[in-house]
């Protein structure tokens, strides 16, 4: 009996999480799928009514904007955070004197709730109040930085604030990864005459592939769920130019009492995630297996 227990302990350790995931993730996804086929309004109802919610969704210009923004925002946000996070981690890895302090400075934006930080960013980015006014005040009257109020550019300010908030965490993640690489191997590369940047690019970074997966998942999650960020910074505006699926969904579900619609947008969102994440997961987990 104890032997059985012992042999199965690893599986048993994983089992509760697995069951929880089945219920609280996949069960709920199924529930959402179901609700997306109903005319649920304020509260969920369960009479199936076909694909009407999806028709409505695809007819809505606001959803088009939100959906398109997801790719602009997601792509830029993930890309910039990765590159910046990695770059900062590498720079911080050079035996910096005040590493602890700098690390905390880079990381602290994570600590601040966007509810308020959004206001600060709003002021900084506002052409009349913030950077633009300041630089113009220094005697560069042609300086212009008005993305926040430009419907075509506003989404990039969301990227900017998003990167500001999350890149520090990605940096920490990469730093942890960098520090798990065996020092002897780095020494070997140094003697081999490999320039430092090549040591990073060809030896250290490839051995951190799993850490990249972590960073990617975290960032993708943040990108897809970016909500506070948009609400606090632009409120989705100008107009609904910076709407994202998450804000769309929230608006539908909770401001507008249109849960069926929210559910259908959630399903589309998850389908997108599925299409992007699954191939990545597949390649990543396969490589590790051989």
């Amino acid at each position: 009996m104890t032997k059985w227990l012992e042999n199965h302990l690893p599986k048993m350790v994983l089992a509760p999480s697995f069951i929880a995931v089945l219920i609280f993730v996949y069960g709920f996804i199924a529930w959402t799928a179901w609700v997306s086929l109903t005319r649920s309004k304020l509260l969920p109802r369960y009479e199936i009514d076909g694909f009407i919610q999806y028709d409505r969704l695809f007819d809505s210009p606001r959803w088009d904007t939100a959906f398109g923004n997801l790719f602009i925002f997601g792509g830029l946000f993930i890309g910039i955070c990765m590159v910046l996070g990695l770059a900062l981690a590498i720079l911080l890895d050079q035996h910096i004197r005040v590493e602890g302090a700098i690390r905390t400075i880079y990381l602290y934006p994570m600590a601040l709730s966007m509810i308020v930080t959004g206001t600060a960013w709003k002021w900084i980015l506002n052409p009349g109040l913030g950077l633009e006014a300041m630089v113009q005040g220094w005697g560069y009257p042609n300086f212009s930085f008005d993305w926040l109020v430009d419907p075509d550019m506003a989404i990039y300010t969301v990227v900017l604030a998003g990167v500001w908030q999350s890149s520090g965490f990605v940096m920490a993640l990469f730093l942890a990864g960098l520090r798990s690489v065996d020092g002897e191997i780095i020494k070997a590369a140094q003697v081999d005459g490999i320039p430092t940047w090549r040591i990073y690019s060809a030896i250290i970074i490839p051995s951190m592939a799993p850490i990249f997966l972590s960073a990617f998942i975290v960032l993708a999650h943040l990108a897809i769920k970016a909500f506070d960020l948009v609400i606090a910074l632009t409120g989705g505006g100008p107009g609904y130019a910076t709407d994202l699926p998450a804000t769309y969904m929230y608006a539908m579900a909770f401001s507008r009492g249109d849960i069926g619609q929210a559910a259908s947008s959630a399903m589309v969102m998850m389908a997108v995630v599925f299409a992007i994440v699954v191939p990545y997961l597949y390649s990543e987990l396969r490589v590790r297996n051989d």
């Binding site: 065996d182 002897e184 191997i185 020494k187 070997a188 590369a189 140094q190 003697v191 081999d192 005459g193 490999i194 320039p195 430092t196 090549r198 060809a202 030896i203 490839p206 051995s207 592939a209």
Partner: protein, 365 residues
Amino acid sequence: MAPILDISKLQKSYGATHVLKDINVQIDEGDFLVLVGPSGCGKSTLLNCIAGLEPITGGSIHIGGRDMTHVSPKDRDIAMVFQSYALYPTMSVAKNITFGMKVRGVDQATQEAKLADVARQLQIEKLLNRRPGQLSGGQRQRVAMGRALVRDPKLFLFDEPLSNLDAKLRVEMRSEIKKLHHSMNASIVYVTHDQIEAMTLATKIVVLKDGVVQQIGSPSEIYNKPANLFVADFMGSPAMNLIPARAEPEGGATRIEIDREGAAPIILHDPHASGLPRDIILGLRPEDIAEAGFRAGEDVQEAQCLVDMVEPAGADTYVMSRLGGTGVTARLHAETIARPGEQMTLAFDLGKVSYFEPGTGTRLN
């Protein structure tokens, strides 16, 4: 010409652990320097310092006449094989080996030629597509070798590069290294604990102990004229017999008396020695003690000894006896018939003897 490597007054500490103490070593171009010493004496640390992988605490290192004390490893133009292999885990064997060349912009064709060449030498042709994690210990070590061999540096540093290979492969590899040394006139610093490797490869041996250089010399100097008791004891396997004895001047020669269990002391006469103190330690290698009749020469002197233990070892048989209060080993032919507890006449070749002062351990002759 300036020496290719000039280490002077080198000091190295890890915190409070003082690992290398005032090391002074020069090697010329084409020298093959072998570093030997007991485990933990600082051999790897010394290589690391030469490579610039560990900051040094004092002294200086010149390579090819340039002061390299503060130059980064990648600019020192050295190749190194690590004791712990340190292969790049994510790269295939082939990439591990060619990576250095690729970075240096060596063209593809040369890379492949060199790779093929080295892979053949190291007998790892079939493994080129594997990852280090899929290799056996010896295979990893050979890949690590390969990484150094494809380079053409000013100086090679090898840290026990053959320790995980079987005897046969080791002999082959040894001769590959020897060839390399000759054909490229390479300068090499080599750490090994294999005496045969040390003796056959080196042009110069450095014996280290606790971070202090004990002796620097050619293999035969080290083997035949150890500078002190430590070197005498350390080099050679089985070790040199170090037998406490009494010396007394006898004209221009010396009379030597060695205590023997249950019998009168053995008396030997060394015509070449003189001016020895009364108490000495006499060093004689096992192969210089032979079965009576099997060794001829003017300095060979015989004595009866009580056999303590007999250990056959393939090609040889070792016979142990107690003399002067310590165990003395003689290396005899495999077919020697000796039995513990019996008396046996052994021949001591005094032409090969070393004398040491018991207190300081320094050589006297």
